[in-house]
Assembly symmetry: C2
Homo-oligomer: 421 residues x 2
């Protein structure tokens, strides 16, 4: 089922460079990109061509961090900071996913909205509940979404109605991993909620699972100043929060790791993050909504720390990675303008890089239209924005305008060569 | 043509207090609110009832500052700070409105989008061109929009293709005022662009016009740090930027005045703003996009400085006042969290207050559903957001969710009792 898309094609070549290809063809063979061509080469003669002339075609966007169960209260309760927000709103909602009927209804709504979003790959948190999480995995896998879904582990400092016994947490995790083995598109990821809700024993045993099953890790790191103080109290022997994960080999020393937020890096910790090649999932909307701060993305990029972009539903108040791009740009301007003039603003080119090839690398050859990359593409109906232009816009300018103005639904979506919508 | 709206009614009582009225009636008599009733009182028996059961009904939103001509490049060119942005993108676009054919096409698109937005009242900048501005006024007035449209004055430090001779600027302003006299809904407002682009002579003559015709004033104040420095150079004898306007009686000493932005208040100037009862038009999106900063709204509210909310199209990247509300909240959190812990976050209640009754006061009895207020109302289709709720949401919670999640088109709109959509 090889095919080509025809349209105005944009993708990121590197941090500051994009490839703009008006009226071109993007060819897919065996689920992989063959490249972008001004004219369809003769060797592809006869393949199906989807004609999206006048529309923009970009790589599928990579959401490095979101909480599927929290989608039920997205846009609500934006009045508290992290720890109070978790206890007041988040934990009671997540607890409901014990009820598989509630979970099915909620995940159906979530996945239906995700289909129409620009997201093609993700690393996602579910809840502690195996049944609900497996329902979510099954649904996502059948549609053709690619990525990681984690069953959460939490065995301390959590409310009675949403806490695991350490042994059960480990058993359920192994069961979960075994159950997900049959799926082709969705993979498990080890997901300790964050240091405050995971005992040392739990962390050690999860670390063993990581090594036994060779699985990646996702968690939260240095999101909120009160959280960081709490971690210091809980683990007085570590020099910084970063080291709290590293002590359990859960900071990239044995496997790929995503740490969400990283708003407040420690100067010693940031060296460790670099050394361990940890991915930072930058969540600009959430960090603003929960009064956490603004992560120093300009610094991360200059110091070559790996960064991907994320919505962080439902600390983040939208599912659309287009808005995450907008917010990565606008929050970086505020950070630079108000208190950190040393580092640069995120530009539209850099936002595209963060949302595609930069985060995409976590998933393999993902996030570009260069030959050999997995064929993740979304088509944007940008030509419907009414305007009287003074000059013809470049492909990049049209994309910038779409990011600021439109943002949600896409016209068509392909994941690893499969047409999803 | 008296009537009632039936639905879930929300409006602001004061800074921190809202009135929530599920399944209620809002009655309009002679274009004015009669109040909100749980049951329709018998004296209104037989009047037409628009049934919006399940929808939210809120006062029409007041956009205190936007540039109609800049809508043509909204969402583009977000890479520069104020002065460079004006010279590179804004001025060339505004210059095109000399061509009435261009202006008609552009304003048709703008007004069509404004109709479907939640905005009912506004104070708007046009360009220096009378013909184009009168076309805009005519269009807005016929639809039933209420508010102020200013022909811009600028006679110095501006590009050749967008500058007026002082005498012509004054003559055109008087002509413009005379031409707008025949309109019932749209009124003129004196609009010196900002101190850097207006000579002392121009400012003095505009001040005379203000007094002769008893007109309000709108301009820009303390948006960007480089701009403030420039004003100091241009008027070395004033103690602060605020005083630069006051010296010409253009800061509320003789008339109502709106000053857009006010990101960087001067400590002496802020006392003057209070004394003069100047309205600040808070433009959170624009101030972020152009790396201007975050205005201290918490402080303004605590010190009882008048504040309204604004989109500032096209420094702001959207036309929707719902997003202006979201951004007023989120930027205030960042300001408080990162460098100004003394003042409070803007809450959803306060955002509604800013966008309705607070800015509305500039226009008379506007922005509330209390008896005697002009009947500006918008109906929001919020019930279509799919969700599995754990409990019934309050009217305010539903509104909060809509502000974060939906944001653009409204289902119905009434301005001073006239049904616009």
């Amino acid at each position: 089922m090889d095919f080509a898309l025809k349209g105005d094609i944009l993708y990121s070549k590197s941090l500051n460079k994009v490839s703009e290809n008006a009226r071109s063809y993007l060819v897919c063979v065996d689920g992989k990109c063959e490249g972008v061509f001004k004219k369809l080469p003769s060797k592809y003669k006869g393949i199906k061509v989807y004609d999206y002339s006048g529309n923009l075609i970009i790589p599928g966007l990579v959401d490095m961090h979101l909480h599927a169960p929290q989608y039920m209260f997205i846009g609500l309760h934006m009045d508290l900071e992290l720890i109070d927000w978790l206890n007041t709103y988040t934990f009671p909602t997540e607890a409901r996913y014990k009820d598989i009927r509630f979970a099915k209804k909620a995940y159906d709504i979530f996945v239906n909205d995700l289909i129409h979003s620009p997201t093609t790959r993700f690393s996602m948190f579910a809840t502690i509940h195996n049944d609900a999480t497996l329902y979510l995995v099954d649904k996502l896998d059948k549609i053709g979404f690619k990525g990681y879904v984690g069953k959460i582990n939490m065995d301390r400092n959590s409310p009675k109605y949403l806490i695991e016994k350490t042994e059960k947490s480990i058993k359920d995790t192994i069961k979960y991993i075994e159950s997900v083995k049959k799926y082709k598109n969705i993979k498990p990821i080890i997901t300790p909620r964050f240091i405050p809700s995971c005992s040392d024993t739990l962390m050690r045993k999860l670390s063993d699972i990581v090594k036994t099953y060779d699985l990646p890790v996702q968690s939260h790191l240095s999101e909120n100043r009160a959280e960081i103080e709490w971690v210091k109290e809980l683990m007085p022997s570590v020099k910084c929060y970063e080291e709290a994960y590293d002590r359990f080999d859960m900071l990239g020393s044995v496997t790929s790791t995503i740490m969400a937020h990283y708003v407040w890096p420690d100067e010693k910790g940031i060296e460790l993050m670099k050394k361990r090649n940890v991915w930072v999932a930058h969540c600009p909307s959430s960090n603003r909504n929960l009064s956490s701060g603004i992560a120093p993305v300009g610094r991360f990029l200059r110091e070559k720390i790996k960064v991907g972009l994320a919505t962080d539903v439902a600390g983040g108040s939208y599912l659309s990675m287009f808005r995450a791009m907008e917010d990565a740009i606008t929050t970086s301007k505020i950070r630079k303008c108000l208190y950190d003039p040393e580092y640069y603003n995120v530009t539209i080119e850099q936002a595209l890089y963060l949302a595609t090839i930069s985060g995409g690398e976590f998933f393999g050859k993902v996030g570009s239209f260069e030959k050999g990359y997995e064929f993740d593409a979304v088509v944007i109906d940008e030509k419907s924005i009414p305007t009287v232009l003074m000059k013809e816009l470049t492909v990049l300018e049209r994309f910038e305008r779409f990011v600021y103005r439109a943002k949600n639904k896409v016209k068509a979506k392909f994941i690893a060569g499969k047409k999803v919508i």
